[in-house]
């Protein structure tokens, strides 16, 4: 290495930059590296722009100290002029998601187990898989319309917590079902055989071995589904109603429930300027909740996986 080269390396230690001057091929290689970097920036910048936009107006709502801000943002009801917090929406979303998960996740996981482990490949399996693929891609407003027509109207459940969370549960099913199926398919056949060869029953094998091995994959699907329905407004417009308080009954107008996405939508559509800030605050809180769920689920998954792999 000459003195000049050592000096050059001190000025610009990136090997790509120096290599690029060596030949045409080195140059092309360098250009593509830079191009891919630019593409990366383009891809991730919308995410940060959204975050900045939401946080710029919402930060003071979630972390400030004024009336209806900070902890009060979550613990007080909107009250007169909607000047207070969003406790109604915060509690409402948690209740909706909890019920939707409690109904939707077991249904889809056991459904996937039945399809994958207990039926033979054939027409009926393909029909179910095709249907859930289609369902997974259907716009959420269609689920809202279905929830209204079927649950609210046909089953006379009326709008409220039950209809709203069941509609969300319907939305979760295709995602969780398909990801669980995929996770089960990844479990090697020989693992099931090893359990059966020890004299285990089919159910014991499925529950203790197959599902356990598929657990990380199942968690991923559950996360995707929760993250998706948590931010959905459309399915709730016709099914959950809205409320400035929390539901007190299971049916009737007392069960009407607010949700965070619905509140964001309502506040953003409102001409009062301070409601724009509250909408941003709600959006920020929602994003943080999705992130928190993601982190917790990741932790669980990693703990289980460490035991597994």
């Amino acid at each position: 290495m000459s003195t000049l080269e050592i000096l050059l390396q001190k000025i610009d230690p990136r090997p790509g930059f120096r290599e690029a001057r060596k030949s045409r091929r080195h140059f092309t290689d360098y250009v593509f590296k830079i191009l891919l970097g630019i593409v990366m920036v383009v891809i991730i910048s919308p995410f940060f722009l959204v975050l900045i936009e939401v946080a710029s107006a919402g930060f003071s709502q979630v972390f400030g100290f004024g009336q209806g801000q900070g902890i009060e943002f979550f613990t007080t009801f909107p009250g007169a002029g909607l000047l207070g917090g969003i406790r109604n929406a915060f509690v409402g979303t948690i209740e909706l998601i909890a019920i939707a998960s409690a109904v939707g996740i077991p249904l889809s996981v056991f459904g996937a187990v039945y399809i994958n482990e207990y039926t033979r490949p054939g027409i009926s399996r393909e029909v179910i898989e095709f249907t859930s693929d289609v369902l997974a891609g259907i716009p959420s407003i269609v689920f809202g319309a279905f929830g209204f027509a079927f649950l609210v109207d046909f089953l006379h459940l009326g709008m409220g917590l039950v209809s709203g969370s069941l509609t969300l549960a319907f939305m979760m099913i295709p995602t969780v079902l398909r990801t669980t199926q995929e996770a089960l398919r990844q479990v090697p056949m020989s693992l099931r055989e090893a359990s059966l060869a020890l004299g285990a029953t089919k159910w014991s094998t499925t529950w203790n071995v197959t599902l356990r091995a598929a657990f990380p994959g199942v968690i991923t699907g559950v996360l995707l589904a929760i993250g998706r329905v948590m931010g959905e407004t459309a399915p709730l417009i016709f099914t959950a109603g809205n409320s400035l308080s929390v539901p007190t009954e299971l049916t009737g107008p007392g069960s009407w429930v607010a949700s965070m996405p619905y509140t964001i939508w309502a506040y953003v559509s409102d001409p009062r300027a301070y409601l724009q800030d509250k909408a941003h605050g709600t959006a920020l809180a929602l994003m943080m909740m999705v992130l928190a769920i993601d982190l917790v689920a990741n932790l669980i998954s990693r703990k289980v996986t460490r035991r597994l792999v």
Binding site: R120, S195, L196, G199, R212, R307
Partner: protein, 254 residues
């Protein structure tokens, strides 16, 4: 209890997958405290024969069978026989190591728990004795709660043997148990198999003539679903009666 001469007796067994006939009129028996090798070229039905003995082929919807398989004198495909009991008494080790995604301890206690052993002390004893019999105890005794899939391939396979021994089956089926392992691990498993025949009846599927020679006392040579020869391994390898056997031993078919 019906009378029986051998742990497992096979009589006039033919099997099909769909329309394809895999085994053709097989009659043989497996002696106690002996290693019997089932050998033959790929696709000759070795594994099918083995998996018929613990009814694992029942998992395949298109599987059909004629003829009898008797375990301790009782027809295993008979009306009153329980497949779960049968598999408790006939353990199996697979070609690729397939430990459950659990800890080493849980891998061993899985079987006994299925069959109603729940006492912690009993389970502890089973863990130790099974791992000792599989010559794995000294290597893993301090890390019983570590995940089994972290073990090396050879250790995993010995764990799978220990898992099979955990429910104390008189018969062990081994489906090419070393073919996915490195030579040193393979040698250890072979040694182990010879050691285990003192207490168990072992049926070993292999396509490796040398392995059959090293490990087994009896051999069955299968070719295209037919049982060509069935006798002492030494006799078959030294003086094959059938030219197909000879061709296989000398490496002309395989």
């Amino acid at each position: 209890m019906p009378e029986f001469k051998h742990q497992i007796e096979v009589e006039g067994l033919s099997t099909w997958f769909g329309k394809k006939k895999i085994l053709k009129d097989i009659t043989c028996h497996f002696k106690d405290n002996t290693v019997t090798a089932i050998m033959g070229p790929s696709g000759c039905g070795k594994s099918t024969l083995l998996r018929t003995l613990n009814r694992l082929n029942d998992l395949v919807p298109s599987f059909k069978r004629m003829g009898n398989v008797r375990f301790r004198g009782e027809d295993i495909y008979g009306v009153g026989s329980s497949v779960y009991d049968l598999r408790k008494h006939i353990g199996m080790v697979f070609q690729k190591p397939n430990p459950f995604p659990m800890s080493i301890r849980e891998n061993i206690t899985y079987g006994p728990k299925l069959h109603g052993t729940n006492d912690e002390d009993d389970l502890e004893k089973i863990v130790e004795s099974s791992l000792r019999k599989a010559a794995l105890w000294d290597e893993v005794k301090d890390e019983l709660d570590h995940p089994a899939p972290n073990l090396s391939g050879g250790q995993q396979q010995r764990l799978c043997i220990a898992r099979a021994l955990s429910v104390n089956p008189p018969v062990i089926l081994a489906d090419e148990p070393v073919s996915a392992l490195d030579p040193i691990s393979a040698a250890k498993i072979e040694e182990l198999i010879v050691e285990l025949k003192k207490d168990y009846t072992i049926i070993l599927v292999t396509h490796n003539v040398q392995q059959a020679f090293r490990v087994s006392d009896q051999s069955a040579f299968l070719y295209l679903g037919e049982l060509v020869e069935f006798d002492e391994t030494k006799r078959i390898l030294e003086a094959p009666h059938d030219e197909r056997t000879e061709a296989f031993i000398t490496g002309r078919i395989g």
